[in-house]
């Protein structure tokens, strides 16, 4: 492997604190007497936010070449198609 000049490290501890705070917020919201739909939307939004932070900063997607970023997000539309097809097939 050739020696690679890497960019300065992101502030990993700040990301860690943000993940911890968002997890605490999730726990708080999960037991609030709000409507089910409101809680579900907020909780899924927070979970996606946390997941994106992990991908961008801990998995370094933010600093990777554009082609690798495309490779990483390519399965997501396929996943949506998968869920859509299963939903259409399901009879209830």
């Amino acid at each position: 492997m050739e020696e690679v000049k890497h960019a300065p490290h992101p502030n990993y501890i700040a990301v860690f604190i943000a993940l911890g705070v968002l997890t605490g917020l999730e726990l708080f919201i999960a037991f609030l007497p709000w409507s089910q739909m409101t809680r579900v939307l907020i909780l899924i939004g927070l979970a996606v936010w946390k997941a994106v932070m992990v991908a961008l900063y801990y998995m370094h997607l933010r600093f990777e070449p554009q082609r690798l970023r495309w490779l990483a997000v390519a399965p997501l539309p396929l996943a949506v198609i998968l869920v859509f097809i299963v939903t259409r097939e399901f009879r209830w």
Binding site: A47, L68, A72
Partner: protein, 205 residues
Amino acid sequence: MAHAGALHDEDVMLPPPGREPGAGVYNEKLGMWVFLGSEIMFFTALIGTYIILRVAHPTAWKAPGEVLAVPITAINTFLLICSSVTMVKAFAAVQDGNLSGLRKWLIATVLIGSTFVGVQVYEYRHLIEKGFVPSEGLYGSTFYTMTGFHGFHVTIGVICLIFVTWRAFQGRYSAKDYRGVEVIGLYWHFVDLVWIILFTIVYLI
């Protein structure tokens, strides 16, 4: 045969240098990302099925905290987030040539990851003693399938991390070559990322 000689000098199986950079990363990392792409599809199949079943049979599920122990799992979630930061600190250490830091952070990641698996086993024992078993119905079967597969991934990750730690103690990694650390790090963060989603949809919703 002059043509054959030209082929010998310039291998036709390789792209001309400088013209086709590929994904711009080394092979092991590209391979891990392709593997993670397949893992995204795998977990999406599980999560998608869970969502569909849950929407179709809303009464089969209990309210958050009614059956599942949210506090202990919240601690476990925090542990996995901690293990992600120790893993990325190990990666940063080897990039900077700090090999003692690499070993220290890797050991921390192995210990925290192992604790996560241990707490999950404890949680399973506790739930099974309460009668919440995989054959309990949709709730039980989907819960154990999703968390079980995730736990299996964490266990594989811990085993791979032990191997990488052992190699780190042998001095196999340096600021010039840290492929093994980066590749296992990608896997480990992906496992953390999946748990972030699972914790929300299985325990909190």
